[in-house]
Symmetry: C2
Subunit: 292 residues, 2 copies
Amino acid sequence: MALDDIKTPFGEVRGALGGAATYASVAASLFTDVGVVAVVGDDFPKEHVEFLKKRGIDTGGIKFAKGKTFRWSGLYEFDMNQAHTLKTELNVFAEFSPEIPAGFHDADFLFLANIDPEIQASALKQMDGVKFSALDTMNFWITGKRERLVKAIGSVDAVFINDAEARQLCKTHNLVKAAKEIIKMGPEYVVIKKGEHGALLFSKEGCFAAPAFPLEDVIDPTGAGDSFAGAAMGWLARTGNIGERNVRKAIMYGSAVASYNAEHFGLNKLKALTVKDVEDRVRRFKELTCFD
Amino acid sequence: MALDDIKTPFGEVRGALGGAATYASVAASLFTDVGVVAVVGDDFPKEHVEFLKKRGIDTGGIKFAKGKTFRWSGLYEFDMNQAHTLKTELNVFAEFSPEIPAGFHDADFLFLANIDPEIQASALKQMDGVKFSALDTMNFWITGKRERLVKAIGSVDAVFINDAEARQLCKTHNLVKAAKEIIKMGPEYVVIKKGEHGALLFSKEGCFAAPAFPLEDVIDPTGAGDSFAGAAMGWLARTGNIGERNVRKAIMYGSAVASYNAEHFGLNKLKALTVKDVEDRVRRFKELTCFD
């Protein structure tokens, strides 16, 4: 969980509630009961915790540590597909070693947001066996902890990764080749996120191409990937079905939530979003891709 | 029509038959009768003309001028979405002013491949009123002949343009905004080509998102945009239906042909392609985008 300073061509916010765990859990909470595990500092506003609780999110896994909350400062220029990191202050995040609360051990669905792959592995190990686990990652771990990351990938059911990261991880420009390489590492599903170009799902059963929703006003893409993954995981948990056809649907729910998320700063849009809104957009996705 | 020298990470060819008019007419000839208007030099191999004739293409509009054929030398690195032009020799193309043969004047469908927008306008004027016309363009004309280009765009029914060009033409990074701007210039349809990310169709009736076919082996993307547009135009001519639902289908036929085209050097793949091959891939596109 983070406090974000974000500047885009359409405005800026300072100290806004952010972080992968936040976006993912808020998005998932549209569809299912969520427990979040994270760390914040003593500067973390109480109202943020209250907000999460009001969404029905179990905040019992949030550790309140001495020091400052993780802080990210980012800038987007007119190419909103590209975030420019101005500053990353790890703060209490630097020493974070997540402990999964006893009440969370029997959860069926686990999303390991981007963090050190060793920590992802440790979190997975603390669970009493999950039905479906997924992880996200980033270039930093591909460069710095490749072996650990490959091992972590081998222990989950699905990987969420963006196109540049997939290319970097598999040392090929071709995304189909990269996806096949990642599938060989062990997971059943690989979801390659392409920002404004949508997402691709790969599995042994083939490939599914999800478009992005064509938005005229992208205000702030922060959290798009995490709200995408969170909503997809939430949909899977709600339906309890992890078959390929339902994973396709999950990706469309994820795409819908991510597209809404980009229409306002930070979590502002997600705060007021309803399942009906999401279903409306999923229907529009159908119309968007129909060629009968 | 051109003779191309192409180098990619997978090999190279020299003096291969190429050019926008070639790719577009060969692709369109899968679906309909085609007449091509172009210029070549006295170095142009007779076998290329024979090849076009064998495809049923009326070559009566090819002008044989004194001098050398237009020659393009291009290089692709591992990012096959990006062509690097090494050399462009206009040769006989520099003085080209197309004359539409009398027998072509009553054609219903006209595709104006990328060339000076004044020449596109002149070609359109020579026709006895067409049912459906489309043009393609490039950054060179957006920079150098913007007003003429905007006027030409206003006189056709559809524009084929790639994402970078649409952004440049409309001075916005947002493709939805760019498409709306172009629609305001007059055409009913705008097709934004995004290479490996597919294509977007915009009209007053809304938006359609076509994925690209996920290819594991892209050998040579030369001519992808022209075979895409040519096949789409061919499909429209074959069916005679220019309604939005059928334009969507045309785009999928175009995407299928373009994806095959990239699997071999130059025209090698298109040469042996059948309508059945294309229909197979259109069916696979349906499976690729289905989330029921």
